[in-house]
């Protein structure tokens, strides 16, 4: 501070005084500025209304997660989310500017562009003519409409094309284009497995708006919304504000199912054709299940829409409809009889010529009435699906202890509404003595598959247990939850009952089911491409009708019309079963008879034949003999390389050799199979173009 004390006074002049006061002014302004800065920094609390004008603008941006995909067993895409776009147009853009400036030329230019835009819109959407679109835009401009809907929802590719059109290729405030994006679910395989894939409507949990895998696994598929804050830059752009809090978006997980698209497709086509071709059919379902794991490889549900007579996947019969299974249930009765040592396949049963009296009631068997025999074996009874054989055996052996008989069904899990991967699995019903459904004839009725309610899935599961040598697997359709290809949660096969019967009993039943196909009601499958063991089933369905102003549940209405459930269930190849399949067809009210062998079996046969042909695991094994000539790594020669001589094709495969020869301008003839081991003329010969080069392969 010593220098400050040594002040020499300069002489004052006019300029000096002026500069001095100027300096003082700046100094004062500086002091004020510094004081103001300190005040704003330390004490100032801006008015919220003013704050937005003095600080950088920020906005909250919510990022929607990408909904997870649903995949088939082999990773093929069943459902995926992609956005769609709806275009609107602000028809008033630049109108005020042109009017203020009285610039008629610019307005005319805009209208000319609108005309060209209309042409493009008409070509893209094809819902109006170019003139129609032009009228729409100009009418919107006259009436100051700022939100005119253009066409229908479009995909991203079309959006890019639209953005090339006049006006739409300009910024929004000039061209008026408004794009609204919304996510849609894409199903690359169309209606295939649509009911299994399901849907979610409006995320509403109160109503039945969540169906299938989409509904049940919505929690995993949906993901979590993310939130970030954006701030405005000096040149009016928007960038991420890293100083603010954020919530990271979490995309939904993918769900891998057990479905095999090829089998699903085959089953879908077969069932669809059957339902479409028979107006008396209400609908039907087919399930294909892997024997050893219980994994569902196909689940098809086809229902007829009576209004327009179209068919589609609109109701899941496979899990949602529990009805009298009919004759396919006889196998459960037979299993119980064999396991308890009450009967065997060779047990002889008296026929009573088809008229057996039980508790004062005559029980008829039409098959046996036609047969001129007094006795019948159990296996023959199963072959012809005799009701009497099973009614008689069950009543004779369990009349005193029906609980024992029914308890076995509980062991087979035929009464269990297990936790399935899809919502809406109907509860099966097996009445017990003392329950309201129990009556004097309940026992013989249950023995042949009436008075009980079973879903097609339960019946398939039971037959699968027999195919799996007594091991009852839980049916499942979701294999894993995945994220970006990595497994987050895996669902393994589950055993519902390790042994519903002995291995010996399972083998006996398999043999009996094979006999049904060879010499019984399943004869239509005798010549299937692989050996099938299975059982037909035909059940009459009760329905409600009005009799004398009273509503009654009946099997037959006043006009003699009935409703049927036709079933075929079995597994193949019967020697070493790989798949269990059930086909169930539901008829409308009709005077026709609906038999499992007539309607369900043809669908089953098509599924078996096509599935068998497509799976190379059932192909013959060829033992390699000798050695295959090694391929040389010679580059393929072609005419475009300027080669004017016969190319050297020795060691090449046929396709490569033909390609090479013909591209050099020669014709090719060949003999044999495999790889080229000789050629005439020799490589390097300069023959006339168009001449034939003969190659031999082995």
């Amino acid at each position: 501070m010593s220098g400050i004390n040594d002040i020499n006074r300069p002489k004052r002049d006019g300029t000096g005084v002026f500069l001095f006061w100027l300096y003082v002014m700046f100094l004062f302004a500086g002091v004020v500025l510094i004081g103001r800065l300190a005040y704003i920094q330390l004490f100032y609390k801006p008015n919220p209304k003013l704050e937005k004008y003095i600080s950088a603008r920020v906005r909250k941006q919510t990022t929607d997660p990408i909904r997870g995909s649903i995949l088939a067993h082999d990773g093929r895409l069943l459902a995926s989310s992609t956005p769609m776009y709806q275009i609107y147009m602000d028809c008033t853009v630049q109108k005020d500017v042109f009017e203020k400036k009285k610039d008629k030329k610019k307005e005319k230019e805009w209208q000319e562009k609108a005309r060209k835009l209309s042409q493009g819109l008409a070509e893209t959407f094809r819902d109006r003519s170019a003139e129609g679109y032009y009228s729409l835009i100009m009418s919107g401009r006259r009436n100051n409409r700022k939100y005119v809907k253009i066409g229908t929802a479009i995909d991203h590719g079309t959006l890019l094309k639209l953005k090339q059109l006049p006006l739409f290729n300009e910024p929004g405030y000039k061209g008026g284009m408004i794009v609204e994006k919304f996510d849609t679910r894409q199903y690359p395989y169309g209606a295939l497995a649509r009911r299994v894939i399901g849907y979610v409507k409006n995320n509403n949990t109160l109503t039945n708006d969540r169906v299938g895998i989409e509904g049940k696994y919505n929690y995993a598929l949906h993901g979590k919304e993310g939130v970030i804050w954006m701030k405005e830059t000096d040149n009016h752009g928007w960038i991420r504000n890293y100083d603010s809090t954020m919530v990271k978006v979490e995309n939904g997980y993918d769900i891998r199912t057990t479905l095999d698209i090829d089998i699903q497709d085959i089953a879908d086509r077969s069932l669809r054709n059957m339902v479409q071709g028979n107006p008396d059919i209400e609908g039907g379902c087919a399930i294909v299940m892997d024997v050893h794991t219980g994994a569902i490889r196909a689940m098809v549900n086809i229902k007829r829409n009576d209004k327009d007579n179209t068919v589609g996947e609109t109701y899941n019969y496979a899990i949602g409809r529990a009805g009298d299974p009919g004759s396919v249930f006889k196998l459960a009765s037979l299993m119980t009889l064999i396991e308890d040592g009450k009967a065997d396949l060779e047990t002889i049963v008296p026929t009573f010529r088809g008229k057996w009296k039980y508790k004062g009631q005559i029980m008829k068997d039409e098959y046996l009435m036609e047969m001129n025999t007094d006795t019948i074996s159990v296996v023959r009874g199963l072959e012809i699906s005799s009701n009497h054989v099973f009614r008689y055996l069950v009543c004779q052996n369990y009349e005193d202890n029906p609980k024992r008989f029914l308890d076995k069904f509980y062991e087979y899990k035929l009464n269990e509404p297990f936790d399935f991967d899809l919502q809406g699995l109907a509860s099966p019903v097996i009445p017990s003595p003392g329950s309201p459904q129990w009556s004097g004839t309940a026992l013989p009725s249950i023995a042949i598959g009436y008075t009980v309610l079973e879903t097609p899935l339960h019946i398939a599961m039971f037959y699968n247990g027999i195919a799996n040598k007594g091991k009852l697997m839980k049916p499942y359709i979701v294999e894993s939850i995945e994220k970006e290809g990595g497994i987050v949660e895996s669902f393994k096969p589950k055993v519902l009952n390790g042994s519903i019967c002995s291995r010996r009993t399972a083998e006996k039943l398999t043999e009996a089911l094979r006999q049904v196909v060879l010499d019984g009601t399943g004869r239509g499958l005798k010549n299937a491409k692989c050996g099938v063991a299975g059982k037909t089933g035909t059940a009459q369905i009760t329905f409600e009708t009005t009799v004398g102003n009273k509503k009654k549940v009946v099997y037959k209405d006043g006009s003699g019309r009935r409703q049927h459930q036709a079933t075929f269930v079995g597994f193949y190849p019967y020697e070493d079963p790989k798949y269990t399949t059930i086909v169930v067809i539901y008829s409308k009210l009709t005077n026709k008879n609906f038999y499992g062998a007539q309607y369900a079996l043809p669908v089953f046969r098509e599924i078996v034949n096509d599935t068998y042909s497509l799976k190379d695991e059932w192909g013959n094994e060829i033992k390699s003999r000798g050695s295959v000539p090694k391929m040389r790594t010679a580059a393929i020669q072609d005419g475009s390389d300027g080669i004017t001589e016969v190319p050297d094709v020795k060691g090449m495969g046929l396709m490569d050799a033909i390609y090479s020869i013909e591209n050099c301008g020669y014709r090719c003839s060949y003999e044999g199979m495999g790889h080229v081991y000789s050629q005439t003329p020799a490589a390097g010969s300069k023959n006339r173009k168009g001449e034939t080069v003969t190659i031999r392969l082995r």
């Binding site: 895409l77 190379d616 033992k623």
Partner: protein
Amino acid sequence: MNAAKIREATQNSIKAILRGEFLLRLHFDRYFMQILYLFFLVWSLIWTNLEIEQTMLRMEKNKKVIEDLRIYHAQKNCELVSYDRITTIQTLLKQMGSEVDIPEKPADRIRK
């Protein structure tokens, strides 16, 4: 330092400020380079911030491009997958007059 000296120094300081000689009297001319350097640093800071903003702006634009490409890829993927269906292929083959259909028997396998 007594009170008289402090008063004198304060008076001299005020006078020096009024004359515009305060910094010179403190010999700040000796730190002229450092002052320039500080000015450069501040200028660089502002310029870098602006450049960062520009880069982030470009990043946001590129994000949109990437998102567009992702959507385009997803849509094309869906279109392509739709052809990978037995019945679709059967229909297409039939339309083309081909007699190719599902094989009669499963393919033979060569034992490894």
